[in-house]
Symmetry: C3
Subunit: 258 residues, 3 copies
């Protein structure tokens, strides 16, 4: 949907965003499940960010107010995290902190889907999810047209993961064909991807560009990691190394954005 120039721009933009992340070290506050916390924090540190992860109702508002971006991941849907999410989203809205919703497993639980819908009504900057999660929330299959229409009517960016990732804000759409099958064999890889979207939103006002660049970074890092991995254990280690060592030239050479 973009011209070749626009696409070249996206690979270049990813390099520029990477540089900004390393220079500015934005703080990304994460409400995420306890399965994913460690890997998510390490992914953010690898890309140059400072993660924070408190869930305490008494202090989350001050953590979010001073953060550069917020991630709300519904992976373990306990009362504490729901309460934390309410406060965090209010604070982000009031303070203008960009935020990402990752509605993990809403296809497995109607209550979780309901909660996700109330959060979407409160204007996340971006929502990252897979096909099953999209269908559960939207009530229909996520064709490119449906995804774009949903993004447009909700005034947010949708990052839809799949064989190729689709990122759309309703007006513009980008498809990213990077990544590796081993990414599906490491828990929290999707959560880490959502955290990188939040990280890029901290240093880039164009939310479509931020989300697309984040997914390019992780996908390219996954390809680099797969070249030396012996399985999912060494892959999880190697992708953190690859994120840390990522450079503009590698992004330009490997990015598959259309």
């Amino acid at each position: 949907m973009q011209s070749a120039t626009a696409l070249d721009d996206m690979a270049q933009a990813a390099g520029a965003l990477l540089e900004r992340l390393r220079t500015r070290s934005p703080r990304v506050h994460c409400i995420t499940n306890s399965v994913a916390q460690n890997f998510t924090a390490n992914a953010l540190l690898a890309v140059g960010c400072v993660p924070s992860m408190t869930l305490s109702p008494e202090e989350i508002a001050s953590f979010v107010a001073n953060a550069d971006a917020l991630l709300v991941n519904l992976g373990t849907f306990d009362a504490e995290r729901r309460a934390a999410a309410e406060i965090a989203v209010d604070t982000a809205g009031r303070e203008g902190v960009p935020w990402v919703l990752d509605p993990v497993f809403v296809d497995r639980s109607e209550r979780r889907a309901d909660f996700a819908r109330t959060l979407i009504a409160r204007s996340p900057t971006a929502v990252r999810l897979n096909h099953a999660e999209f269908s559960a929330l939207a009530g229909e299959e996520p064709s490119a047209a449906v995804a774009a229409a949903t993004a447009g009517s909700n005034e947010l960016v949708i990052a839809l993961s799949g064989a190729a990732d689709l990122v759309t804000d309703g007006k513009r759409s980008v498809s990213i064909a990077n990544g590796h099958p081993l990414m599906a064999r490491v828990t929290a890889m999707g959560c880490a991807g959502s955290a990188l979207v939040a990280a890029c939103l901290a240093v880039e006002d164009d939310a479509l560009r931020a989300a697309a660049c984040a997914l390019v970074m992780l996908g390219v890092a996954g390809e680099v990691a797969a070249e030396k991995a012996q399985g999912p254990g060494s892959f999880a280690v190697a992708i953190l190394d690859a994120v840390y060592r990522l450079d503009a030239a590698t992004l330009r050479k490997r990015a598959k954005v259309t």
Copy 2:
């Protein structure tokens, strides 16, 4: 206690179960402690399963009802996990979902041992524990005869870890001498073993065979991993790779089942 033919069968059965896990990708729901969640999820993914880990009282019943197996690990014994365990065990009983109890550290806390006893009364398919935990629950040392008698009278499979693992259902008993000392230097290795028992129960109705095969898989993977590990850090990585790459030939060559 088995003939040589029966023992050959066990190594072969492990290969067949591995194939079934990879083909069917069963979903294993885990109530486990936050120390172990990440490694447990990655071990399940490495062997071909889909892990889920929610603890929320509102949705755990639907997660368990649709799961292929359940793990209840008492590693961090908080109120939320106790409540989740009650609902999950009820659901598993009603829906016929096989489940494994891992009564971690019941030897350190009488209240935890009491709770474990109430769960054992609700008919787990298998209980995996070490010698100290067995003694705390049964009130006597776990000789092979005592373990078999306990398994028989409770109508469940006991998988007793130790220098050699003993698996018994009261009528049949198997001893597994695979594994490596580094397995004791990585946190959550036992929890991951219990998760693999649950995984095998999802694809094999003979619970003794399922439990024994799971322990053979992990023990053999541990031996493979130890050959390239430099210490417990690289060992934890390598064992996930080894589980992922495990094949029937390696299992047949290395299994030490008597």
Copy 3:
């Protein structure tokens, strides 16, 4: 501030403590955040300790009473961990169990700083923190003189991390210049350091010596790990291996204690 002989002593003491940890396998109970639990447990296992991590109010007293040391880390400041910390600190005081406070992020939340102050008033054996955290608690910048005065008036050991770590009990002070920048790129590295301080307190009554030796061990392991790491992913793995393989000769050769 010490003579050359005293400094040689510290590198030698670290070797002797390492030996004692491996021989005695002390149990270290950790109240720590869910981001850090897994890596902290693995660091303790790598050095030869037995970690335990329950937070349940019903059983934490018995876990702490029988532990050889206690770590209280404020990294995720939820109600459950606050309640657990109160009981644990009471128990440690009554039973004479040495304990370490790691007041993570008190510079980001006034309530957390208040809670940390109430814990400091209950006589931790050591407090490990960074410059921003020290300033938030003490109300002034941590010069060597201020740190020493604070340690002396509170009758505890302060381990202040930074470009070089400063360890002081008010009368004696030690500076440790080991470590590597990648240590700041792995989440929970500081938490693991505090856990090692607790571990050393379990086998050494001189708290200054225990704290200094723990930081020497981790710093030297970090240097060894950095020599083979490709980035923060492989570094986190390699530092666990390095802790596990650490020996007196390496400590003597690499320790930079003044």
